[in-house]
Symmetry: C2
Subunit: 190 residues, 2 copies
């Protein structure tokens, strides 16, 4: 099992956002949608051993965390609107501190990065980190940021996490997930 | 310069498609949009030395080919709707056998795969090919298919093209582009 967590600094926390304007009024929800799909999709298949947490830190009720579970997901298609629609449904659910399933394989709770850091030994995917190709064992929990860098507070919370890079150039978060999973695929199939 | 060409077997060739339904009525135009973005985007930057051809083989006027040029592109954002809107504008342009620019960095012409094969020495990205990591020199022109396999006719046209793989598992076309460019980035920055 490999899990990813992506921090959406402005991603809205109310389920009335417009699927036609995810980059704008939904706080770059499009970035998070692409990360879900990078984490879960194979060609004509789904990865059943990955998950993707989305940490939503935007208005009006942050933080909330949505989990897409590859082993249970249904009704997910590769276009951005598809995870967007499932995120919207999740945000319509009244949730507390425990994950509550909104649709098959998608669940939501109150809480954000601090809770996740208590639950998983995250490594941070960061272009300043050590190259994953040189690591003998790949981390099983990866933290990424959306189009913004981690805030000072988030950087302090993750100061003890190891840092890994997927290459010499800074990539979009979803592209970094794709490259990381390619490295994992190569090791699993050797 | 590295160029990608993606064959969209059902991708429509008229500029009136609905940006809210690219997977359906636009013939999986969403796949092609993601390929454009995988080919051209870096984090907060664009790749200025890549291009992406989209071969549109869907109704009502196939084939047409659209070229996104990284060195000239403007007004492109990372969400799927953004290249979708530029494709729509291109399809509204009356075009002949030569590329005609519809918006900065986007141009269109009549014609499809045979014309492209005359112009570039394509390699095919295919999971049955040789691993790109083992190649001393990477190809500079890569052909991919959308969610469908190449047709028999396309396979015959490309029978002499070398085949390369980006890993042990079959990936979406856009993910394959991302992994390929990561390998290229690592060699350029050594």
């Amino acid at each position: 099992m490999t899990v990813f967590a992506v921090v959406g600094h402005a991603a809205v926390t109310e389920g009335n956002f417009n699927l036609n304007d995810m980059p704008g009024s939904a706080g770059r929800m499009d970035v998070l949608c692409r990360c879900v799909n990078a984490a879960l999709f194979l060609s004509h298949d789904l990865r059943r051993d990955t998950g993707c947490y989305l940490v939503l830190n935007g208005p009006p009720n942050p933080p909330k965390t949505i989990l897409f579970s590859g082993d249970r997901i249904r009704s997910l298609n590769p276009d951005e609107r598809s995870p967007g629609a499932l995120i919207r449904k999740a945000l319509l659910v009244t949730c507390g501190r425990d994950f509550r399933e909104s649709t098959p394989g998608v669940s939501i709770r109150r809480g954000g990065l601090p809770e996740l850091l208590d639950e998983h030994a995250f490594a941070v995917l960061d272009e300043s980190g050590d190259d994953i190709r040189g690591e003998s064992i790949l981390p099983e929990a990866l933290l990424l940021s959306d189009h913004q860098n981690l805030t000072r507070e988030e950087s302090e919370l993750t100061a003890e996490c190891p840092r890994f890079s997927v290459g010499p150039i800074s990539l979009h978060a979803d592209h970094a997930i794709t490259v990381f999973l390619n490295e994992r695929d190569r090791r699993c199939r050797r």
